[in-house]
């Protein structure tokens, strides 16, 4: 299978090759930037003692959401046997795997001592288990990665051999993965929520909001990806499937918006000392306004997309749908990426306001990791589409030979 799929992914149309070469080039740039960071230390990034987490952790947080949301499509397909979603799901799980690998890459990029990361491997290192939320996160992320690799692999492998997958095998797995998806997201939210030092994060709504925004951004990305796949391959994705996913996006986006309003109300109706971070984010503090253009892009985009998608007619129009999904994705990336992480540090514990500005190196590494994610996803998607389309099948000849043996 590996050999077959290797052969399969190295062949493709011209567009496909250009796309892969483009991604490889960005990955190489990212690696170069990372080598600079390794040599100079994290001083090569824009992070300081004041704002000690930046672009890497922002992207990590956002991508955990994407990974979690991708699997929400699993439930109806496998358990309710809703054939509609089946095609979308393999793509979704591929997306989850790619997103998770990107998450892990972002965490590694953020580490001061990547050479001692083995201290974090359970069994070999020392784990601060129930206490540290980061230890939980490492466990749940890797567990999730494992689940999301095994289930599709099993299904694809069965299809590859030309058989149907057994329900009794994958259904418990997919139930687990759905629960786990909620788990990874809540644990990641708790990572921030549990810090009494940072009032901006120490907020009970953070976990639910993480989930809501993830279930908007994740499926939105899936819709976009499905659209691309529909355009470039013969893989048939029915409009019905996309409509259903769009429904998930709308509901999640609406809930997300309600929570946003609730949060804004709490911060600005009776502002306390703890609302300073929110002030910084939305209005700037003491003339420091670096995040203003970003957040004021994100909020209107978010509202616009949600409102547009709420109307059935508009949502049925593919052009509007794709546009809305795109702006929603961007809006949530801003809002839940550095719109969440950076203001947590500003003002600092003693009110110091020091802004954060990512350096070229940091941006290079970030782009490189995104390219890596896209690269992995393209490979996974191509293989699974190949199998699903029946192009990639266990060769009869070998099968006979093995039977004879």
């Amino acid at each position: 299978m590996v050999k077959d799929s290797l052969g399969y992914i190295t062949h493709g149309s011209k567009t496909y090759h250009i796309w892969m070469i483009f991604l490889t080039a960005i990955m190489l740039i990212g690696m170069y930037c990372y080598s600079i960071q390794l040599e100079e230390g994290l001083s090569a990034t824009g992070m300081t003692d004041r704002v000690s987490w930046g672009l890497y952790i922002s992207n990590f947080t956002f991508l955990v959401g994407v990974a979690a949301a991708a699997v929400m499509l699993v439930m109806p397909t496998y358990v309710l046997n809703d054939i509609d979603f089946k095609h979308a799901v393999l793509i979704g799980e591929g997306l989850a795997v790619a997103a998770l690998l990107m998450c892990l890459a972002f965490v590694v990029a953020d580490m001061g001592g990547p050479s001692v990361l083995w201290h974090m491997i359970p069994g070999i290192g020392v784990f601060n288990f129930p206490n540290s939320m980061l230890a939980w996160d490492v466990i749940v992320l890797n567990g999730y990665l494992f689940i999301n690799i095994t289930i599709p692999l099993y299904i694809l492998f069965r299809h590859y051999q030309g058989k149907e997958a057994k329900r009794s095998v994958y259904i418990p797995g997919s139930i687990l993965s759905v629960l786990w998806a909620v788990g990874i997201h809540l644990v990641t939210a708790f990572l921030y929520e549990g810090l009494q030092a940072r009032p901006f994060w120490n907020n009970a709504l953070l976990g639910p909001r993480f989930l809501a925004s993830a279930f908007a951004a994740g499926p939105a990305l899936i819709i976009l990806v499905l659209a691309v796949i529909r355009k470039f391959t013969e893989f048939n994705i029915e409009q019905k499937t996309i409509n259903k996913i769009a429904m998930i996006v709308v509901v999640a986006a609406q809930i997300n918006l309600i929570m946003l309003v609730s949060e804004l109300f709490k911060e600005f109706y009776a502002p306390t000392h703890h609302s300073e971070s929110a002030y910084y984010l939305f209005f700037g503090l003491e003339g420091k306004t670096a995040l203003l253009p970003w957040i004021w892009t994100a909020i209107p985009l978010n509202v616009l997309a949600t409102v547009l998608l709420t109307f059935h007619k508009l949502r049925r129009n593919p052009k509007v749908l794709y546009f809305c999904c795109f702006i929603l994705f961007v809006a949530i990336w801003i809002e839940k990426g550095f719109g969440l992480i950076v203001p947590g540090f500003i003002p600092g514990p003693y009110g110091t306001i020091a802004e954060y500005r990512p350096t070229g190196v940091e941006i290079g590494v970030t782009l490189g990791i995104w390219a890596m994610g896209a690269f992995i996803f393209t490979m996974l998607a191509k293989t699974s589409i190949g199998i699903e389309l029946g192009k990639l099948r266990y060769r009869k000849k070998e099968k006979l030979a093995s039977k004879a043996a």
């Binding site: 230390g41 580490m111 001061g112 050479s115 083995w118 974090m120 540290s132 030092a197 947590g344």
Partner: protein
């Protein structure tokens, strides 16, 4: 090596007793074997050839005399090109140590250096070490410094004493902002001179406005005390229920029996979660390689205290563990010309710190967070 291990140890057979060293093919572990003189192609899979590596190592050895700071094995001087080539190797766990130990360098010393680096790379968490292991790592670090800098350091690993719980009190009315404490702290604790790392921050605040940290001047640059201002110092408060300890994913930081919150610099992975969790801005990160001029290095060190750090790890105030565990006042207390800083044993009912707690109107910062800092403020 003890049988019961809480972490993973890789023994590549560097112990002198074991003759089958994987470091070179000649079977000799001590002394140079013939093949070592000529640069032979490396058997390793990593991207750097042995020749390049030799060059890099030679570079470091020449640099040794003027280079300062902690010389980590990864910090061999290299240009961007070599760095890039080395990238793949560095991503592997401990690749640096493998390189050093597997490369073919002549001489007993470099062999020993490589072995020390290897053992240091794969040693365990200090908190969980047995006494022998602790002694061994201290000895290795002392020896390593000797090999690299030709200087001797004194490193202790004194444990917490019974019936001791360290506490600190700070007299706001007395502090005049002279900054002697900061100076003494930097010198005592071998903090990075390049990034001007300081554990203590002195905040200049306006009289009559209360504790408005956000309006305080942390960067003043004038004669002190300034008219109508008061001064307040902050540093690590050694919380009794420290949030930084809870969040560390690898237990690289913990609270000692005598209340000191310490870090095992070699176990820290540099995730900076503790920094985000600290409500008191008490933690510092080595964003780049820390450097201290050789003549300014404080050679009286403690494993959990002021020993040399490397880049990418956390550090912070330890109440000068190397001094306080030996009965001496921390450097800031000793340096303060005003007597604003009071340090002592909280469990001793006759100590001065206990007198202050009992007789002055003391308070702590952000008490509502439940972190129980052992650092009190009071006024005359």
């Amino acid at each position: 090596m003890s049988e019961k291990k809480k972490w993973f140890t890789l023994d590549l057979g560097f112990n002198k007793k074991v003759p089958t060293a994987s470091s070179c093919g000649c079977g000799k572990t001590s002394g140079g074997c013939g093949s070592h003189e000529a640069p032979s192609p490396s058997k390793n899979e990593h991207a750097m050839t042995a020749e390049e590596f030799d060059k890099a190592v030679e570079g470091t050895m020449v640099d040794e005399t003027r280079k300062d700071g902690f010389q980590q094995v990864f910090d061999v001087k290299m240009d961007r090109r070599t760095a890039f080539r080395k990238l793949t190797a560095s991503l592997l766990v401990g690749a640096g140590a493998v390189q050093t130990s597997c490369s073919v360098i002549a001489g007993e010393e470099s062999k020993e250096k490589a072995q020390i680096d290897w053992e240091e790379q794969f040693k365990g968490n200090y908190k969980l070490m047995t006494q022998e292991e602790r002694d061994a790592t201290v000895d290795r670090l002392v020896r390593s410094y000797q090999l690299r800098k030709k200087e001797n350091i004194k490193m202790s690993a004194t444990d917490a004493s019974k019936d001791v719980l360290f506490g600190y009190a700070f007299n706001i009315s007395k502090c005049q902002g002279y900054m002697d404490c900061v100076s003494a702290c930097v010198e005592e604790n071998n903090q990075d001179r390049n990034s001007q790392m300081q554990y203590i921050r002195i905040h200049e605040m306006k009289d009559g406005e209360g504790f408005k940290f956000n309006e305080a001047d942390d960067n003043y640059y004038h004669e002190v005390p300034a008219e109508g201002h008061f001064y307040m110092g902050t540093q690590c408060f050694h919380c009794d229920d420290p949030p930084c300890v809870d969040v560390c994913p690898v237990q690289a930081t913990w609270r000692e029996e005598d209340g000191l919150v310490v870090i095992d610099y070699d176990w820290c992975i540099g995730c900076r979660y503790c920094m985000a969790a600290c409500p008191y801005d008490g933690r510092r990160f080595n964003w780049s390689k820390p450097e201290v001029p050789e003549e300014e290095v404080n050679k009286n060190q403690h494993y959990l205290g002021n020993r040399m750090r490397k880049k990418g790890v956390m550090e912070k105030c330890t109440f000068c563990i190397q001094r306080s565990r030996a009965g001496k006042d921390p450097a800031c207390v000793e340096a303060c010309p005003t007597g604003a800083r009071i340090f002592g044993n909280l469990l001793d009912p006759d100590s001065t710190i206990r007198w202050v707690l009992a007789n002055k109107k003391v308070f702590r910062l952000k008490e509502d967070l439940g972190t129980e800092p052992k650092f009190w403020y009071f006024m005359d």
